[in-house]
C-alpha cells in the first residue's frame, strides 16, 4: 500500500476518528469546470427534457432515445467512462454533479442514471479489454443504450436467490439463458443488458446480453405509481444465446459485480435525492410567495416558514454528507495509478471501501427527498394534489427511491452489519473504543461548553459519537451473534450512524467555509448546522434510549441510562428562532441557498 493510501480515511472511520474540516470535500470546493458541467447539465434538462416531459410521461420512448443521444453529444453519458474507451474519464465530483442536476428531469433522470450507472458501469469496472472496446465507446456516445437486469419476480432484496439459469451449449460457444428479469429500467429501447444468471444452477454470473441475440425479448410496459417517464418492462430470456466471450467477470463471481454496482447505485440515488429536494424547496418557496390567503402571501405564515426551513436544513446536511462521500472516493482514487484507474476494478474497490457511507447516504437522502416532496405538496394545499402542478409528479416520482437499489430497510441492516464485520476483522477499532468509553463514563463529568460559533455543535457531535458507541456496544454485548435478529435495534444503530455522519459533514462544511472567508458570508450555513445538529442529536438520544432499554435491565440498565443522561446534558438551541431566520433568506431568494 502506498503512503498516500494509508493517510486515506477508512470506510466507516468517521465513527472512531475525527477529521479536520480542511480534509473534507465540500460543494464550496467545486472548480469552475465542475460548475460549468453542472450548468450544462441543467441547461440540457431545462432546454431539452422539460419541453417533452409530458410526452415522456405518456411513454413516448422514442423521445427518450433522442434525448439520450443528445446527452451523448454533450458528453453527459461519458463522464465515468475512461478516455481510452471513448469517454471523458472525469472525476467523481463531475459525474455526481451531472447526477444531481439530472434529477431535475423527473423520471428521465432514472433513464439517464440506469444507462450511465448500473447499465454501463459493470462493463467499465469489470469488463475485459475486448468487452470494453466493443461496448464502451458506443455507450458513451449514446449510439447504444444500456440496462441492468438483476431483479426477478421471486428475488428482490435477496438478489442471489435468482432463478435464471445459464448453461453452456454442446459446442462450448454460447451460454443458453432461461428466466425472467423484472422491472428493468430502459427495457423498451436498451440495446445492451447486463444480466445475472446461475451457471449450472448455482454459479451466480454476470453476462452482457444484446437485445438482438436470439431468445431475448421484453414484456409489456409496466403501469407504475411514479417515474412514468422511464421505461420499465420484463426482460424475457427463452433459450437466449449469449456468446461465451460475453461473460462479464468470472463465472460464479457475479455477486462481486452486483454488490459493487449497488454501492454506486446507492450514492448516486443519494445525490439525486439532494438535487430533487433542492428543486422541491424552490418550487414550494415560489408558490408560497405567490399564493395569497387572508390577503397575505402564505410564505409569511410561520408554519409554512418552518416547513421550508426544515426542508432546507436537512438538505444542507445531506448535501454536505453525499459530497463528503464523493470526496472519500476521490481521495482514495488519488492513490491509484493511471493503469489502475483504467482497470476499473480498482475504482470499484475504492467505492466499495465506503459501502457504509453509500448505504447511509442512500437512506438518509432518499428519505429527505420524500419528506421534501411531501411538504412541497402540503405547501401547495389542494393545488399540490392536481396534476398541473410539478409537485404532484415530484411526490409520486420520489417514492421509488426508498425502494430500489436495496430498500432502505436492507441498507439499514447493512450498516451495523458492515461495522461489526470491520470490527471483527480488526479494520476498525470499534470494540476497543467501546470498552474505553465504558470506563470513561464511570468518571465522566459534564464539560462546560463555550459560546463560540459551532462550539455547541462540536460538543453535541462528540457526545453523539459516544452515545452511538454506547448503545451499539451494549446491544452487541447483550445479543452477541444474535444481534442480527434484533432488526429494530439495528435500524436504531443505522439511524444514529446516519445522523452522526450528516451532523459531522454539516459542521465541517460550515467550519471550512468560515475558515476561508469569515462567518459573515456564511450565516445561512451556520443556521442550518445549528438546527440540524440539535434535531439530529434529539433523535439520536431517543434511538439510544430505546436501544438500551431493549438490550439491558435492572441496575445495569439504570447505570447505562444514567450515563446517557450525562452525555445528553446540554442547553438546547432555540430552533424555532433559527428556523424563522433560515426561512427569511429562502423566501427572499426563492430557492435553496447556502
Amino acid at each position: 500500500m502506498s503512503e498516500t493510501q494509508e493517510k486515506v480515511i477508512k470506510g466507516g472511520g468517521f465513527l472512531v476518528e475525527d477529521i479536520a474540516a480542511e480534509d473534507m470535500l465540500t460543494p464550496e470546493d467545486f472548480t469552475s469546470e465542475h460548475k460549468m458541467i453542472a450548468k450544462t447539465t441543467e441547461e440540457y434538462v431545462k432546454g431539452e427534457v422539460w419541453p417533452v416531459l409530458d410526452n415522456l410521461e405518456n411513454h413516448e420512448f422514442d423521445k427518450s432515445v433522442d434525448l439520450l443521444k443528445k446527452a451523448g453529444e454533450l458528453g453527459l453519458l461519458g463522464a465515468d467512462v475512461p478516455e481510452e474507451y471513448g469517454g471523458l474519464g472525469l472525476d467523481k465530483v463531475s459525474s455526481s454533479l451531472i447526477t444531481e442536476k439530472m434529477s431535475l428531469a423527473g423520471g428521465f433522470s432514472i433513464t439517464h442514471g440506469a444507462h450511465v450507472g448500473i447499465g454501463s458501469l459493470p462493463i467499465v469496472f469489470f469488463g475485459n479489454k475486448e468487452q470494453k472496446e466493443k461496448y464502451l465507446p458506443v455507450l458513451a456516445t449514446g449510439e447504444k443504450l444500456a440496462a441492468y437486469a438483476l431483479t426477478e419476480p421471486g428475488s428482490g432484496s435477496d438478489a442471489l436467490g435468482a432463478s435464471t439459469t445459464a448453461k453452456l451449449n454442446e459446442a462450448g460457444t454460447h451460454y443458453v439463458l432461461n428466466g425472467e428479469k423484472q422491472w428493468i429500467t430502459n427495457s423498451a429501447f436498451a440495446d445492451v443488458f447486463v444480466v445475472y444468471a446461475k451457471v449450472d444452477g448455482d454459479k451466480f454470473t454476470a453476462f452482457i446480453v444484446e437485445r438482438e441475440f436470439p431468445g431475448v425479448s421484453t414484456g409489456p410496459e409496466e403501469k407504475k405509481m411514479g417515474i412514468k417517464s422511464s421505461s420499465t418492462r420484463t426482460l424475457v430470456l427463452e433459450d437466449a444465446e449469449v456468446p461465451v466471450e460475453n461473460v462479464l467477470g468470472e463465472i460464479g463471481r457475479g455477486h462481486i459485480i452486483a454488490f459493487n454496482i449497488l454501492n454506486v447505485g446507492r450514492y448516486k440515488l443519494a445525490i439525486g435525492g439532494v438535487g430533487g429536494a433542492k428543486r422541491a424547496i424552490e418550487v414550494a418557496t415560489k408558490y408560497a410567495n405567490e399564493r395569497k390567503q387572508f390577503n397575505t402571501p402564505i410564505s409569511s405564515f410561520r408554519m409554512i416558514q418552518e416547513k421550508l426551513a426544515n426542508m432546507a436544513a436537512r438538505t444542507y446536511a445531506n448535501e454536505s454528507s453525499v459530497y463528503r462521500t464523493v470526496g472519500l472516493f476521490e481521495q482514495r482514487m488519488g492513490g491509484l495509478s493511471q493503469e489502475e484507474l483504467n482497470d476499473g476494478s480498482e475504482v470499484a474497490k475504492s467505492i466499495a471501501e465506503y459501502a457504509i457511507e453509500c448505504s447511509m447516504n442512500k437512506y438518509m437522502a432518499t428519505e429527505l427527498l420524500d419528506y421534501a416532496a411531501d411538504e412541497a405538496v402540503q405547501i401547495h394545499g389542494g393545488y399540490g394534489f392536481m396534476q398541473e402542478y410539478e409537485v404532484e409528479r415530484m411526490y409520486r416520482d420520489s417514492r421509488i427511491n426508498r425502494i430500489f437499489e436495496g430498500t432502505n430497510e436492507i441498507n439499514r441492516m447493512l450498516v451495523p452489519g458492515t461495522f461489526m464485520k470491520k470490527a471483527m476483522k480488526g479494520q476498525l477499532p470499534l470494540l476497543e473504543k467501546a470498552t474505553a468509553l465504558q470506563e470513561e463514563l464511570m468518571t465522566m463529568m459534564p464539560e462546560p461548553v463555550g459560546d463560540e460559533t459551532l462550539e455547541q455543535e462540536r460538543y453535541l457531535l462528540k457526545n453523539a459519537k459516544k452515545i452511538g458507541l454506547l448503545a451499539a456496544g451494549i446491544a452487541a454485548q447483550k445479543f452477541q451473534d444474535k444481534l442480527e435478529q434484533e432488526q429494530e435495534l439495528l435500524a436504531n444503530i443505522a439511524d444514529m450512524a446516519g445522523e452522526i455522519y450528516n451532523m459531522e459533514a454539516a459542521i465541517l462544511r460550515t467550519e471550512k467555509a468560515i475558515n476561508k472567508d469569515g462567518e459573515e458570508k456564511h450565516k445561512q450555513k451556520v443556521l442550518y448546522t445549528q438546527v440540524y445538529v440539535q434535531e439530529a442529536f434529539n433523535s439520536i438520544e431517543a434511538d439510544a434510549k430505546e436501544t438500551l432499554v431493549a438490550s439491558d435491565s435492572g441496575d445495569s440498565l439504570r447505570m447505562m441510562l444514567g450515563a446517557l443522561r450525562k452525555l445528553t446534558r446540554h442547553d438546547p438551541t432555540n430552533v424555532v428562532e433559527k428556523k424563522r431566520e433560515i426561512a427569511k433568506t429562502l423566501i427572499e431568494e426563492e430557492k435553496y441557498t447556502v
Binding site: 469552475s32 469546470e33 458541467i37 458528453g75 453527459l76 471523458l88 427572499e588 431568494e589 426563492e590
Partner: protein, 257 residues
C-alpha cells in the same frame, strides 16, 4: 478569417437584483455572459466552422470575468482576451469601453467583429457602433441572419419587428439580435478543452492607455429598481362610463395623457 467577439459579463437576471448605497449589490450575485453576446459567440463559431479562421473573445472586466471567458472557450471559441480594468477604472461608460477596445484593435487584422445588440444591464447598445466608427469599418446592428460569400455579406436586420435586407462587405462589425441563432451550451469535452486554450490577460497600461485616456463622459446619478407591479383595476358599469373613467384615470392617476 479573423473573427472577434465583444463580450460583457452581466448579472444573472434570473437572480434577485439588490441595491444598497445606490449601487447594485455584487456580493453573492451570479454573473453570466450577456445573453445577446451569446448569440454573437454562437454566430462567430458557426462562421469559423464554415469559412475557417479563428475566434477570439474579448472582454473588459475583472479577475472574475475569466469564468465567462472560459465558458465562451468551452462553447468553441479559440482564444480569449481579458482586459482587466479592476485597478484602473472606477466608473467607466461606453466611451471608456470604446477607447480601450479601439486601442486593443489598433494593431489587429480584423475581418469580422460580433457583439451583442445590447447588454441587458445598461442596455446602451453603443459600444459596437462607436467602435466601428473608430475603426472606420461598416457596421450593422440587430442582425437576425448573416451570410458571407467572399467579401460580400448579406444580412437580415431586425427593424422593430420588420426585416431590412442589407448587403455590405468585410471587414465588418455586427451586433446580434435574438433570433439570429440558438446558442449552444458548452459540451463536456468542450469544457475540458477550454482549460487548455489560451487566455491572455492585459491591463490598459499594456495598451498604452492611462486612467485619464479612458475617463467616462457620463455620470450615473441614481440607480433604482423598477416599482413593484401592483394589482390591476377592473372597471365596471356601462361601456360609455368605463371609457370615461379610463380616460380620466389615465389623466389623473397614471398621468400619461
Amino acid at each position: 478569417m479573423n473573427i472577434y467577439v465583444l463580450m460583457k459579463k452581466t448579472f444573472d437576471t434570473e437572480e434577485k437584483i439588490q441595491i444598497s448605497d445606490g449601487k447594485i449589490e455584487t456580493d453573492g450575485a451570479e454573473f453570466i455572459i450577456n445573453p445577446y453576446d451569446e448569440y454573437a459567440i454562437e454566430e462567430a463559431i458557426k462562421v469559423r466552422d464554415e469559412h475557417g479562421g479563428e475566434v477570439t473573445v474579448v472582454t473588459i472586466g475583472d479577475e472574475e470575468s475569466e469564468s465567462q471567458l472560459r465558458t465562451a472557450l468551452a462553447m468553441g471559441a479559440d482564444k480569449a482576451v481579458l482586459i482587466n480594468t479592476e485597478d484602473d477604472v472606477e466608473e467607466g461608460d461606453q466611451v471608456t469601453t470604446t477607447k480601450i477596445l479601439e486601442a486593443y484593435f489598433e494593431d489587429k487584422e480584423v475581418d469580422l467583429i460580433l457583439a451583442g445588440n445590447v447588454a441587458i444591464d445598461e442596455a446602451s447598445g453603443q459600444v459596437g457602433p462607436r467602435l466601428a466608427a473608430k475603426l472606420d469599418i461598416p457596421y450593422v446592428t440587430t442582425i437576425t441572419s448573416l451570410e458571407i460569400d467572399g467579401d460580400t455579406v448579406k444580412i437580415d436586420k431586425d427593424v422593430e419587428g420588420d426585416v431590412e435586407k442589407v448587403e455590405t462587405s468585410l471587414p465588418l462589425l455586427v451586433t446580434c439580435q435574438q433570433g439570429l441563432n440558438e446558442p449552444r451550451y458548452p459540451s463536456l469535452p468542450g469544457i475540458m478543452k477550454a482549460k487548455k486554450k489560451p487566455l491572455e490577460e492585459l491591463e490598459i497600461d499594456d495598451l498604452d492607455l492611462d486612467e485619464d485616456d479612458v475617463e467616462a463622459s457620463t455620470e450615473t446619478v441614481e440607480v433604482f429598481l423598477p416599482p413593484e407591479k401592483e394589482a390591476g383595476k377592473v372597471l365596471e358599469g356601462e361601456t360609455d362610463e368605463q371609457v370615461k373613467e379610463l380616460v380620466s384615470l389615465l389623466k389623473t392617476e397614471a398621468k400619461v395623457l
